[in-house]
């Protein structure tokens, strides 16, 4: 009944996908809220009384009062699919989002590999993968991997300096420079205006997965 919703953050251009969880619970929630609206208040009713006199002889009326509840009248208007969808949208779409649209599962990329590169740039329902963003994602991952290797090379470098193994130091310096330059090819890829370009994405993927070697 309920499709997935897609909306785009104006600031970042990134796409968010909203997945409905349990429409029936939404329906039940609406029904209960409606029922509360029409619950009748209790009415006090005197069911028994007795005329008594106080110490001064003044008569007073002693009453037994009960709260008589009015018949519970629920709003039994059926909760329609439109009601559920409206609640789903109001709960899920953040403030400031002007537009959203419904998508099917096949409109969403099958892989989350470049999840942060998902954009919505054309008139189709399909969620697109932006190659520029994908390159940035890959650069981030590659840098993180490279930095780990540079950290390792720092420890190796200090050890070689202590032992004054100059030849290995020279070799290490060359590999460290290669590590620093490992992102250059990826950065050099021209991705502007490319969306869902599997060839380019594969190039990005290859650069991201390149082997980094600091062995000396």
């Amino acid at each position: 009944m309920l499709n997935k919703l897609v909306y785009t953050d104006k600031n970042t251009g990134s796409v968010s996908v909203v997945y409905p969880v349990d429409p029936e619970k939404i329906r039940e929630s609406i029904r209960r809220e409606r029922a509360k609206e029409v619950l009748q208040p209790a009415v006090e009713k005197v069911v028994e009384y007795e005329i008594k006199a106080d110490e001064d002889g003044n008569e007073f009326r002693q009453e037994i009062v009960v709260q008589e509840y009015q018949p519970v009248v629920y709003n039994t208007d059926p909760v329609t699919d439109e009601d559920v969808i409206a609640r789903y949208i109001s709960d899920s779409i953040p403030e400031g989002i002007d537009s959203y649209r419904e998508v099917e599962s096949e409109d969403i990329p099958a892989s989350r590999e470049f999840r942060n590169a998902w954009v919505d740039v054309d008139e189709t329902t399909k969620v697109n993968v932006c190659c520029c963003k994908a390159k940035e994602v890959a650069l981030g991952e590659l840098r993180r991997k490279r930095n780990k290797e540079l950290d390792k090379s720092d420890r190796i470098l200090m050890s070689l300096l202590d032992r004054e193994e100059n030849e290995k130091l020279a070799e290490l310096r060359i590999k460290r420079q290669k590590l620093r330059d490992s992102t250059e090819k990826l950065k050099a890829l021209e991705t502007t205006g490319l969306f869902d370009d599997e060839e380019m994405l594969q190039k990005i993927r290859d650069e991201r997965e390149q082997e980094l070697d600091i062995t000396v």
Partner: protein, 514 residues
């Protein structure tokens, strides 16, 4: 045989000259009247007979007749039965006698002096022979008195009537099919010759009957078909053999007075009049009165025994049914022999007691258990218990629903899912309307019912197979209606990075509690 001269006598021989006619008497011991009456029988007497002579003939078959000579010739005598033709047809009753042929001193005379002047009375003979002195000896006829008056008649004063073959009573028609209301005394109405007296209507089927049978069966019936001695329509039967008296209608016995002294009546319907002043058991107790139904036209069953108990005790496992829309009790209904186990009624109250203690009492204020504490006025079927009543009970269904709902509320919100593919596979949820995939390692959970405030607990469990990663979450945005979470892990024990590996292996459990 033939004419016998010695038997032919001149009856008028020696009479006065005034008696000119000649009367002859002829008696035959051998010839019948038919023989004597044949033509030429008296030819031998042609010299003595003259025209219009009267011949009294007594034949051997006991029959007698008067003839007159009607024609005479030289050779024959013709006779004819006495008619008006003879000129001497009237005689003075003082001159006319008939004497016995054996003893002519025995005579018959007629006396007409009592007849009114100018009046002729006719003595008509029946069509059979009679002997006036012994009418009882007649056996094949009857005396038909048709007209006039019979009164002052004594029947059987000296001797009983030994036989009465048939008596047709007053107003009887000639046949049984007459339309009158007849009385007939007969002994062969049904050809059984068993009834001494039978009073029958003109129709054997349409009118009431009375029959008395002989003393061997001693049946006295009144009814349409009494001879069957059955309880036919509207019958009354006294049966000596059965020693009972029965009344029947519609082929059914309605009442039987038996020889044992019991009087059984199917239905006694005293419709009108008054039956009063009847006392049962004045001298001794009425030990048993078996009555199928009692219809009381008054309103009270009471006793004269002060403080005495009136008992109604059905036999065996019989029950007492009070088939009335309303059964009213003055105060208590108690168990036999256990009087403090009872239901006690008061003004607008009912109290159910055992061992004298109230277990359940009902009043206009509600129902109460144990004689104390809160009364209950109704049972509410409110899933959310919104009435918050302190006098109402709750249905099983609404209690179940409420507990389930509250369980959700206590949990408040929970969600498990699996990033098995590009889209999340929702495993289980509570109070979550949707999951928003915002970015890698970052989701927003939207609640169906919002929290009261933002200070709710957040817990996380993440499954995976990378042992060197310590997982954690960071709550980016916490709202009452949603929360945005970023999954992170500590890389190499130092860097906290976003979990980018949510593509295949991670499951998530997020629990928020109040």
């Amino acid at each position: 045989m033939a004419f016998e001269l010695t038997n032919f006598n001149n009856v008028t021989s020696g009479q006065s000259s005034d008696f000119e006619a000649k009367i002859w008497a002829y008696a035959s011991d051998t010839d019948t009247l038919e023989t004597v009456s044949t033509a030429g029988y008296f030819n031998q007497m042609k010299h003595a007979l003259a025209a219009d002579n009267l011949i009294y003939i007594s034949a051997s078959d006991g029959r007698a007749i008067y003839y007159v000579t009607s024609a005479l010739s030289a050779d024959s005598v013709t006779i004819a039965e006495l008619s008006e033709s003879p000129s001497h047809s009237e005689f003075s009753d003082s001159n006319f006698r008939i004497y016995d042929n054996g003893d002519n001193t025995k005579k018959i005379a007629f006396e007409a002096s009592s007849i009114s002047t100018g009046t002729t009375r006719t003595l008509t003979m029946p069509d059979f022979d009679i002997t006036l002195a012994n009418m009882a000896a007649q056996s094949s006829s009857s005396v038909n008195i048709d007209g006039g008056t019979i009164d002052g008649v004594t029947i059987g004063a000296s001797n009983k009537i030994t036989s009465l073959t048939s008596f047709w009573g007053l107003f009887e028609s000639d046949t049984d099919s007459g339309s009158f209301a007849p009385i007939r005394v007969t002994n062969n109405i049904d050809n059984t010759a068993t009834s001494a007296i039978y009073v029958l209507s003109g129709s054997s089927t349409s009118y009431a009957n009375i029959s008395f049978e002989n003393d061997t069966s001693s049946i006295f019936d009144i009814g349409v078909n009494p001879s069957s001695h059955a309880e036919a329509d509207n019958s009354f039967i006294w049966n000596y053999a059965n020693q009972d008296i029965r009344f029947g209608t519609n082929n059914t016995v309605r009442a039987v007075l038996s020889g044992a002294g019991t009087f059984q009546i199917t239905t006694v319907d005293i419709n009108g009049g008054t039956v009063d002043g009847i006392t049962l058991g004045t001298n001794s107790a009425v030990t048993e009165a078996q009555i199928d139904n009692i219809n009381i036209n008054g309103n009270t069953i009471s006793s004269t025994d002060t403080d005495g108990t009136i008992g109604i005790t059905p036999d065996g496992s019989g029950q007492i049914h009070l088939n009335s829309d309303t059964v009213t009790f003055h105060q208590d209904i108690s168990h036999s022999g256990d009087t403090d186990n009872k239901i006690s009624f008061g003004a607008d109250t009912q109290n159910y007691l055992t061992s004298g203690s109230s277990r359940l009492d009902i009043s206009d204020s509600g129902v109460r258990l144990g004689g104390a504490n809160t009364r209950v006025t109704t049972v509410l079927d409110e899933d959310d218990m919104a009435s918050d009543s302190n006098t109402s009970l709750i249905t099983q269904q609404s209690l179940k629903s409420f507990v389930e709902t509250e369980a959700d509320t206590i949990l408040k919100a929970g969600l498990t899912w699996d990033w098995g593919s590009g889209t999340p596979d929702i495993k289980k949820s509570a109070n979550v309307s949707s999951l928003t995939d915002t970015a890698t390692g970052k989701v927003t959970v939207n609640f169906t019912s919002s929290f009261a405030d933002k200070q709710y607990f957040v817990g996380l469990g993440v499954g995976g197979n990378v042992s060197d990663q310590l997982r954690c979450i960071e709550t980016d945005t916490r709202q009452t209606g949603s929360i945005t979470i970023t999954f992170k892990y500590v890389e190499d024990g130092a860097n906290v990075v976003v979990n980018t590996a949510d593509t295949t292996r991670d499951q998530a459990l997020i629990v928020f509690t109040n």
